[in-house]
């Protein structure tokens, strides 16, 4: 892989890398969701709020399990074979740094004027 986003070599197994990265993000959010909900629950006193958070907590735990199982099946996550996990971590870090150094977006992305007025307002007069 190199810094040229047009070089086809960079497309080699890009889908797997993208899927793995997106899955890791999904897993991280699920973990954070469980932790946040558990903490919120321990600060909640109103019965209705408690029952709601308890339900969301168990739902979150179940989803976290599902994501973990999928990732292990797809070999995107190796909680038992840490040497495998080490290699994935380092590879993802290296590739993501390279992507980080690529010049992927136009300099000016403000898209000023495209969203902040009705289409013909600036034309004015009878054409507006």
């Amino acid at each position: 892989m190199n810094n040229d986003y047009l070089d086809p070599i960079n497309a080699l197994n890009m889908p797997e890398m993208a899927d793995m990265t997106l899955a890791v993000d999904f897993l991280m959010r699920a973990k954070e969701g469980v932790r946040n909900t558990a903490i919120a629950l321990t600060e909640t006193v109103s019965p209705e709020a408690r029952s709601l958070l308890r339900r969301q907590l168990s739902q979150g735990i179940a989803l976290h399990q599902e994501i973990t199982d999928l990732m292990m099946r797809k070999k995107w996550f190796h909680p038992y074979e840490l040497t495998e996990q080490y290699q994935l971590d380092q590879l993802a870090a290296k590739n993501t740094i390279m992507i980080g150094q690529m010049n992927l977006f136009p300099d000016d992305t403000s898209r000023k004027g495209m969203f902040d007025r009705t289409p013909d307002e600036h034309v004015g007069g009878h054409q507006a």
Binding site: L22, A23, A49, Q56, I67
Partner: protein, 87 residues
Amino acid sequence: MKPRTLAPHESMDLHEVLNFKTLCLAKSKLMQGLVFDQELKALMQKDVEQSIQAIQELQSVYESVPFQAPVPESRPEPILNDGGPLQ
């Protein structure tokens, strides 16, 4: 006597949980367009559906926070225009 409004601490935590869930919904929806693996996409769709329901439940409980107020149809000032307050 069941108090009308939620206690301060739980209200702030509901604020955090609601915002977190909202962002997770946005992200899962966005990522469905990016993932290649269809099983992963299906699991994200499940997350989207669960999150929508969870958010609706949170929204209704959140209505009984002490700092509740009527919600305007949309943000009064457009966010992107030059003179907008958030420039």
